[in-house]
């Protein structure tokens, strides 16, 4: 195949997106099928790329910039994953979005997003990468804002948070280009340390914010409520993770060479651990299906960052494996949320309940997906988490309290399991709160993506050699792996036993909590209202810890000061200067009385002064 085919995954969705925008709103169905066809084609094309390694360089703009694309096993993997989920979610949207407003815009932005993500992943030039990366802000804004009339505020929030992070990325890219002396990504290999570390941190902020790690996460729970649900499955659920973790891996593995001994490695691990714990603690107390999932979308990123941050092969493989697993089960979980929303008409857990019998397929999918995310063997999440645990322990050996990373990750698992037990219990079991006769199983086009995704969960768990050996281990290359393979059953039986103990603990905790409060929804209340935690939760729910809100307050403060300064300057110009001028004017007017005598005396005085000046001066 011609190398120029590399442009197809970028151009096809973008051109198709423009066409999608041309559809009328009442042609929603046609638009949906058109887009599904495009994403299916896209999937076929990217699948056909598999196993190739291509380089495409086109001249671009001035200054000798090059439009360079590079197809590597890694970018191929991300491309393929993006195409799979793009297709599945598009198929799902056909039924879910049916009858909603702004359909043409939804599908247009959907396709733009796919094309831009592909562009960013394929880019082999930092400027090209930045171009595609930053363009995603537009579709992000567009997709949230079409959610409902009140979504504008959330869209702005998402755009500002991502914009700040992208600004850091811009700075990082500028520094990297300066330090490396080239823009071609595949030619950059900088050791960490000194200024290089600063550049790394800026790039890391960009990557982590895209993946949704703390403290750049706070738009995601808001978007979960405001944006159309498939958007959540597509962006925060799948593509953002793929792109963010892809770039984080690239900067840790080859753009910079991160070693376990540099201070950047524990920094990443600390960020990862904090993200895991704080986000999952927030997830535990949520009372809304989508909002609860959205906090998990944040929490799971922590595992990936923790894994990659270890800078040891097992951790990185675990992190990447967790990335793809997370994309699978998290988008799947969002899709079940969408099915519930569409069929039961609500996502507030207090209004749900007993759906399990009415929507058995959805429930079954939910159980498997939830088990995967909680790390129950033999589903995929279990294996990737075990790898991350392994990595955290191996990297942690260097330090005195290195085991805390493992402990944090394990504790995260406990809360993850607890919150999904609560979610499943509240939504699918218990007494039905809605008229059960009205609730039916979701339509086929929504079920098929969910079933496929659930099947992937089982497949990647039971046959984990397929993703690990075919997709992920080639990314690291033989020189890093040194003949190791991470497929199969976890190496350390102790860790597996500890995991199982924690999961059983979570189950017992749930039973106790549910019995204590009398409902599945209240199963986590004893943690929520525990002394010490309660006030913190209270403040977090009031968004007192939201960096965006804090930033807004600081900005408002600065704005107020600037306003004061502006008023001062205005006063100087508009009032003080005018007053002084008019005071002078009035003085001069009063002096001009019209008296000839006065004018003559001025003239004579002037004459005397001038004579004095000229005679005296020379």
């Amino acid at each position: 195949m011609n190398v120029r085919f590399l442009l197809v995954p970028i151009l096809l969705p973008i051109v198709a997106g423009v066409l999608a925008l041309l559809f009328r709103n009442r042609q929603g169905k046609a638009c949906a099928w058109f887009c599904t066809a495009v994403t299916a084609t896209q999937l076929a094309i990217t699948a056909s790329f598999f196993g190739q390694e291509w380089n495409l360089i086109l001249p671009w703009g001035a200054f000798g910039w090059q439009f360079a694309l590079k197809l590597t096993p890694f970018s191929n993997f991300i491309l393929l994953a993006a195409a799979v989920f793009g297709f599945l979610i598009c198929l799902y949207s056909a039924a879910f979005m049916n009858g909603k407003r702004f359909l043409n815009q939804y599908y247009g932005y959907f396709l733009f997003t796919l094309g831009l993500v592909n562009g960013a992943v394929l880019a082999d030039n930092l400027i090209v990468l930045l171009f595609f990366w930053e363009s995603l802000l537009l579709t992000l804004f567009g997709m949230i804002v079409i959610g409902h009339p009140g979504a504008f505020k959330t869209a702005v929030k998402a755009c500002i948070i991502s914009g700040v992070a992208d600004l850091c990325l811009l700075v990082g890219i500028g520094m990297t280009i300066y330090l490396a002396g080239t823009m071609t990504i595949s030619q950059i290999h900088l050791p960490v340390g000194g200024l290089n570390s600063v550049a790394f941190i800026f790039l890391m902020i960009g990557a982590m914010a895209k993946a949704g790690a703390m403290p750049f996460h706070s738009w995601i729970p808001d978007a979960a409520v405001d944006a159309p649900l498939p958007f959540m499955a597509l962006l925060p659920g799948a593509l953002d993770k793929l792109l963010g973790i892809y770039f984080l891996t690239r900067i840790s593995l080859d753009i910079f060479v991160l070693t376990p001994l540099s201070w950047l490695s524990p920094l990443l691990m600390i960020i990862g651990s904090i993200t895991i714990l704080l986000a999952v603690m927030m997830a535990l107390i949520q009372k809304d299906y989508k909002r609860l999932l959205s906090f998990h979308a944040i929490s799971q990123v922590g595992y990936m960052i923790l894994g990659i941050g270890t800078a040891v092969p097992v951790g990185i493989v675990g992190g990447l494996f967790h990335m793809i697993n997370n994309v699978i089960y998290k988008s799947g979980l969002f899709l079940t949320g969408g099915a519930v929303e569409k069929q039961a008409g609500a996502t507030d857990l207090a209004k749900l309940g007993g759906l399990g019998t009415r929507m058995p397929v959805t429930f079954l999918c939910f159980i498997i997906l939830a088990a995967s995310i909680s790390g129950v063997p033999p589903f995929n999440g279990f294996f990737s988490k075990e790898l991350v645990y392994d990595g955290a322990l191996e990297a942690g050996r260097t330090w005195h309290v290195g085991w805390t990373f493992y402990a944090a990750a394990l504790l995260g698992s406990f809360f993850t399991a607890a919150s999904f037990l609560k979610l499943g219990h509240a939504a699918f079991l218990g007494k039905p709160n809605t008229d059960p006769a009205k609730v039916r199983e979701a339509p086929m086009t929504m079920l098929i993506p969910m079933i496929i995704i659930t099947a992937l969960c089982i497949l990647f768990g039971v046959w984990n050699a397929l993703p690990l050996e075919r997709l992920i281990q080639p990314i690291l290359g033989e020189h890093r792996l040194e003949g190791h393979t991470f497929a199969g059953w976890p190496a350390s039986m102790t860790l597996v036993i500890l995991t199982v103990v924690v999961l059983v603990g979570a189950f017992l905790n749930h039973l106790w909590g549910a019995k204590r409060s009398g409902s599945g929804l209240g199963a986590a209340d004893h943690i929520h209202y525990a002394p010490g935690l309660h006030p913190l939760y209270d403040r977090a729910e009031r968004r007192l810890f939201d960096p965006y809100e804090i930033g807004l307050k600081i900005t408002n403060g600065i704005a107020r000061i600037a306003w004061g300064i502006d008023r001062g300057i205005d006063y100087l110009y508009d009032t003080a200067a005018v007053k002084i001028t008019y005071a002078l004017t009035n003085g001069i007017r009063k002096a001009h009385t019209g008296s000839l005598f006065a004018y003559l005396s001025w003239s004579l005085a002037g004459l005397i002064l001038i004579i004095a000046l000229i005679l005296g001066g020379i």
């Binding site: 003239s603 001038i610 000229i614 005679l615």
Partner: protein
Amino acid sequence: MPALLILIPLLAILALNLPWKSLMNRLAFWVGLALCLVQTGLALQPQSRFWHSPSLWLGNLLLFEPSVDHLSLVMFLAIGIVGAVTLFVCRYSTACAGNRFMVINVLILALTGMNGVVLANDLFSLYVFLEITAVASYILIAFEKGRDAFEGAFKYLILSAVATVMILAALALLMLTAGDLSFAAIQAAIASSPHSRVVLAAIALLMVGLFIKGGLVPFHGWLPDAYSAAPAAASVLLAGIVTKTTGIYTLIRLVTSVIGYNDTLQTLLLFVGAASMLIGALAALGQSDFKRMLAYSSISQVGYMVLGLGAGTVLGMVGAIFHLFNHAIFKSLLFVNAAAVEQQSGTRDMNRMGGLAEKMPVTGWTSVVAFLSTAGIPPLAGFWSKLIIIVALWEAGYTTYAALAVLASLLTLAYFLSMQRRVFFGKLAAGFESLKEGNLWILVPACVLALITIGIGVGIPWLFETFMLPIRSLL
């Protein structure tokens, strides 16, 4: 044969007063216009034989051999244009044919005087022509015989008389030293004894006399009354060209060709220029009489010219002369507009007006061109001359004065914006519902002047090379 510029107007006055009264009444305007236009046309052709051939029999009637350089040509051009505009305004505003005939006679006399001032190359001739111009001006101001007109003319008369005394005294002192009053002789005398107290006193007296004529602060007391009380045509002539010829041109000519620069003189010029510029602008800000405001604005603009002259460099002088010419155009235009407004609305009180541009669009919009040019907004003519003056000041090291010049520009913009707002823009004031635009006699000169202002501004690269830079030969 440049002497003809004095003699032919003089003969024209004589001819017009021949006893075919009714014919002459009708002819007077056209004769005057022809004189002005021929002068303008000649001034635009510096290579013409007219300027360089020696005087023939008629020219020998003069007692001196006039000399002409680029500065004189610029002045002739300005005099020609403003003279023609004045004739139009006179035609427009003076209804009675008999009165108009007399005004035109005096007008031609004033033109004769100004041409003489420009041509003179000895101090005594200069003095004589200054007096001719001044006398013609008194008559023009007082022509309509109102109380204000007499007051204005009287103030002008008295202060001009003071100036005359000073100039005459200076002449006497210089005569004592040099024995001759030709520019060359005096220049030699000053050069040979630069510290003589007699010469210095003479220079001081001469300066003050010219400052009074030019209306510079603090010798400007007569100017606002004279300008605002004068009939429309007279104020156009006075503001546009008379004070600039008798005060500023003479100052430039004497400083550059006779007295020469020195530090004290520069300090004096800069200080007086800056004071005029600022006080004139501040005073203009407080006026509610349209013409009085324009009068103070004239003081301020004259300040710029003297400031440019005070920079003591070629560029400064070029800027001063350029600004003099531009001022002649845009200030005449503003007075033309003021005349139209006064004639159509019957008032000069800006507080009573408002929204007149709705009824008098041409007047309103040519006024915008004129005031933007005065305030120095690119690309109009006034911007370039002010820019040249400010750049010259900056280059000569007078940064404070350059800054003051910019500041005064802001004040200029302030009072003109306030004028435009009060008179032409906004809602139509009560009582002006039946207001009409003036007739062609006033609209044609307004449009021509506006076009000149725009044309100079746009054509500056060419003009600067061909008209402005040759002036440098003066230094």
